[in-house]
């Protein structure tokens, strides 16, 4: 049996009457790259935030390295979060800080590393994502969307985490920059030997970075398997989604309903 890094069992989450997660079951193998696909409002981001503890699930179990993380105290939560790095959809850079300090933020403020050492690490990580030291002195507002994503990636890997989450890593980027980011994700994840969990609806990105794929629809995992089985999954939801067809079980009505849940 494959060694599992993260396991979700029957996870449920509702916001008022809107049931966003309806019993999610998911296994994330250690050292591999798993990608969750699904339409807007299908519950992808909520699921990721539940694993990180940013949102508390109503029911179900989430295991990280075999340890239940749904009801951790502040100290244990902090300890668990040190295993994670995350690249946010909007990069979520701190606009009041220069780029290098954004990259080194977790090291300086979270781990109390000396600022000089943190600066060196930040420059190394910026170089790992193809940015030079000069960029480190600029502010996030002075960077393009693609550069901001790179900085976000450098921040995510700054502390060499065991697990890295990628939330829509290529959204809002042109196809070439999206491919550059995909390559960087593959390279950096392999370099530090991390387990990666990504959510996206960009199929080019899925084919580039995934070892395993799972599809979420209406708050449930409707299919999961290795990337080479994706095109022959035999699942009508997956077929419709990866081929981008309007006809199929994922109807306009269902999409509207799902969008209404997170609105």
């Amino acid at each position: 049996m494959t060694d599992l890094k993260i396991q979700l069992k029957a996870v449920e989450k509702a916001f008022g009457k809107n049931h966003v997660l309806n019993g999610v079951d998911l296994d994330v193998p250690k050292g591999a790259s798993t990608v969750i696909i699904g339409g807007s409002g299908s519950g992808k981001s909520v699921m990721l935030k539940c694993i990180l503890g940013l949102i508390h699930p109503d029911r179900g179990s989430i295991l990280v390295d075999g340890r239940e993380v749904t009801h951790l105290g502040a100290k244990d939560r902090d300890e668990t979060l040190r295993k994670f790095g995350m690249l946010f959809q909007s990069a979520a850079l701190f606009d009041s800080l220069p780029v290098w300090e954004n990259v080194a933020f977790g090291l300086i403020q979270g781990r109390r590393m000396d600022r000089k050492d943190a600066y060196k690490t930040a420059v190394e990580k910026l170089e790992a994502v193809g940015l030079n030291e000069d960029v480190g002195r600029r502010f996030p507002a002075e960077l393009s969307g693609g550069m901001q994503k790179r900085v976000g990636l450098a921040r995510a890997i700054a502390a060499n985490p065991e697990i890295i989450f990628f939330d829509e890593p290529t959204t809002g980027l042109d196809p070439i920059m999206a491919d550059v980011i995909n390559d960087l994700i593959v390279k950096t994840v392999k370099d530090i030997g991390a387990t990666a969990l990504s959510i996206t609806h960009d199929m080019a990105s899925v084919r580039k970075i995934a070892d395993y794929v799972a599809m979420i629809y209406k708050g449930k995992i409707v299919w999961s398997g290795p990337i080479d089985k994706l095109d022959n999954s035999g699942n009508e939801y997956v077929d419709q989604f990866i081929n981008g067809r309007a006809d199929g079980p994922i109807t306009d009505e269902a999409v509207k309903e799902a969008l209404g849940k997170t609105a």
Partner: protein, 271 residues
């Protein structure tokens, strides 16, 4: 008969709907009060527990204290001047012009400097805090803080609450002096008072407990402004509209709370 039953039914529906609406409102109110209480508890605990972010604290002291000085100075200066003019208009009818100095001193130190400073800081600082933290919420920067093992309460909330609570008393002390000076300028140049006698009257009326009551009030107002700014920013809705609403709620709620708490503290200090 049917008509009477229909009337009875619609009457019952009206009562049921009204009770439901009241119930909903009360539940919302209790939920909000509960959420705010939990937020305040976490914020206060974060102020006393390490780690402390010294650089951020200094930045907030400068933002809230130093940059509010011109606004507070202008507000209290003109308030002191108007107070002297209006007091003269009223007191001259009873040949009680000599009471102007005492009115200016008491009004400024006890009420006007702390309340006006609180309201001005609510508009300037409370709105800025709510907008900044609200934008951070919308752009996932607060989530990013958490994933980087940094508590948003300790990093964002505690420095602002500490700076707000400590800086407003200082601003009010400066505001007291400027307001009294405003009254002095009008009394000497417009109302024909002699500088020596006006200063003597002012000094005689200046009591430590009056000044301190204003300082205590200011500390409470500073806490209210910063905590309401942080609370509404932290719980901001999505998009520009959400941040705009958070900013409005922060200013309105802190202004109302300042006026209510001012009344309660005046009752406690002077009754």
């Amino acid at each position: 008969m049917t008509h009477a039953l229909e009337q009875c039914g619609s009457g019952a529906n009206f009562i049921f709907d009204s009770c439901q609406a009241i119930g909903h409102t009360m539940l919302k109110l209790f939920t909000s009060v509960g959420r705010l209480s939990v937020f305040i508890f976490h914020a206060v605990v974060s102020c006393f527990l390490p780690p402390y972010f010294g650089r951020l604290m200094v930045r907030q002291f400068i933002d809230i204290g130093y940059y509010s000085l011109p606004v507070i100075g202008m507000t209290t200066l003109f308030t002191g001047m108007v107070l002297a003019l209006q007091s003269y208009t009223g007191f001259s009818r009873f040949n009680a012009e000599s009471a102007i100095a005492s009115v200016v001193v008491l009004s400024m130190t006890r009420e006007l400097a702390p309340v006006l400073a609180g309201l001005m800081v609510a508009g300037r600082v409370g709105a800025a805090i709510a907008a900044e933290i609200g934008t951070m919420r919308v752009t996932e920067q607060i989530d990013a803080l958490t994933t980087l093992s940094v508590s948003p309460f300790k990093y964002l909330i505690a420095p602002r609450v500490i700076a707000g609570t400590l800086m407003l008393p200082l601003l009010v002390l400066i505001g007291d002096a400027i307001g009294i000076f405003g009254g002095y300028v009008i009394a000497i140049h417009d109302l024909g008072f002699s500088a020596g006698s006006y200063l003597t009257q002012t000094w005689d009326m200046l009591e430590t407990e009056d000044v301190m009551s204003g300082v205590y009030k200011a500390a409470a107002f500073g806490f209210i402004v910063s905590i309401m700014g942080c609370y509404h920013g932290f719980n901001s809705g999505r998009g520009a509209q959400g941040v705009g609403a958070a900013t409005t709620y922060a200013v309105v709620s802190s202004s109302i709370l300042i006026l209510i708490s001012n009344y309660l503290m005046t009752q406690i200090f002077f009754s």
